[in-house]
Amino acid sequence: MDARFRDLLAAEWTKLWSLRSTYGSMALITVSTVLFSVRAAVADHHNWPGYAAERRAAFDPIHDAFPEEGWLFVMLAAGAVGALMIAGEYASGQIRTTLIAVPDRRAVVGAKVVVLAGVMLVVGAIAAATSFGVSQAILADLGAGASIGEPGALRAVAASTLLLPVCALIGFGVGALVRHTAPAVVVTTTLLLLAPLAFDITNRWTAAVHNALPVPAWERLVGNPYVLPNLHVATVPGAWAVFAVWPVVAALLAAIVVHRREP
């Protein structure tokens, strides 16, 4: 790798880990993933004797690893870290100091994207693997826990790992466009968490829009059968494509607007 770009990565790494909000977000991610998956697994473990045979047959242990109510916090925190990484610079004026030190704006955005995606990928892998391992261990003595080799298990862990960089980069793109911290976080949260609720999944066309949003794509990939049966369910490759397109478009958009606009 180019030595100059390595210097930029080191600078962005220093900047990311010298803000309190980063630590707060990481704590929120770790605590909420582990806590909510433990809660879901313990609840099913407790209620298991009362479940009828068909309920037991339809039981999806992977759902206990990735309960949506817990992962909403993850999406929120990851999106906020991404949004603040760039909007925080514009809102404070720091961006001018940054760009005088490094006038190549595209390189600055590139370094931010690499550091953000890399850190979120590692945190996501830890969060997803811990959630999966702990919840399945709780269910194991019932014979109801899944192993990573079971159909859909690895896909769910991979999708949940990638959910963090996906949400963070979407936040980053929004932050670069909006350039103010509070609106950037609000828009990111709306896009990730509220927008899916606005589309009727029983209609073919609005369901298609719904399926093209990042969080519904994650729900599809973790294969949650408790989500209301969607008549127009996305294909798995389609959901992966949604996961790929959103962050790439967000990063490119950030590079374009940071390069073009005067700070």
């Binding site: 030595a3 100059r4 210097d7 930029l8 080191a10 600078a11 962005e12 220093t14 900047k15 010298s18 803000l19 309190r20 909000s21 925080g88 610079e89 404070s92 004026g93 720091q94 961006i95 001018r96 100091t97 940054t98 760009l99 005088i100 030190a101 490094v102 006038p103 190549d104 390189a107 005067e262 700070p263």
Partner: protein, 243 residues
Amino acid sequence: MIELRNLTKRYGGSTAVDRLTLTVRPGHVTGFLGPNGAGKSTTLRLVVGLHRPTSGVALVDGRPFADRPRGLRHAGALLDAGDVHGGRSARAHLTALARSNGIPRSRVGEVLDQVGLTEVARRRIGGFSLGMRQRLGIAGALLGDPPVLLFDEPFNGLDPHGVRWVRGLFRRLADEGRTVLVSSHLMSEMEQTVDHLVIIGRGRLLVDESLAAFAGANSGAASLEEAFMDLTADRLDYTAGGR
């Protein structure tokens, strides 16, 4: 050296900088004066590539600054002491800047010492006074040991000791052969700081001569401040109580 050739910047219908041609030479402390809205800050932003000129060029040591991959090694600039993220400590802020330009970490301690912020280096910048932020901005400008330095209103918020220290610093930097450009709207402040004067009004060059020559040409005026006021009186954008 800083060279401006026909530098022009328009925003919509208004012209902030108007065909400015100027050379700022090394070895001098050059004062950059003009009333509010004269285009001083815009010019400085054009020099460091934050804004792109509508026409004309601004060169730092022969090249547009935006072409430099490591800016801090070519020019140090304090354009606004507020251009920092308040959530970081002074040391973290400077460390990130140093790393982005491949400058060794030991240099951070040196500049913190030089500006007198070593004792508060671990405190968050958000709690700093304006004077402390000015010192932090100067530390950032010095990090890369650059041949060209730009300071926009560096005296704001500094106490008298700070002002004296900054004057001495600018003089030393110029004596080391660097190009030092200092903007201000106060002539009285500049008289004791600079040896060369550039005055602009409404984006246009009005004066480019040594302080001694300017003083000689205006020996009839009660003070240099008086001479500056007369010179720029018809080039004000904002006048209290109408004109």
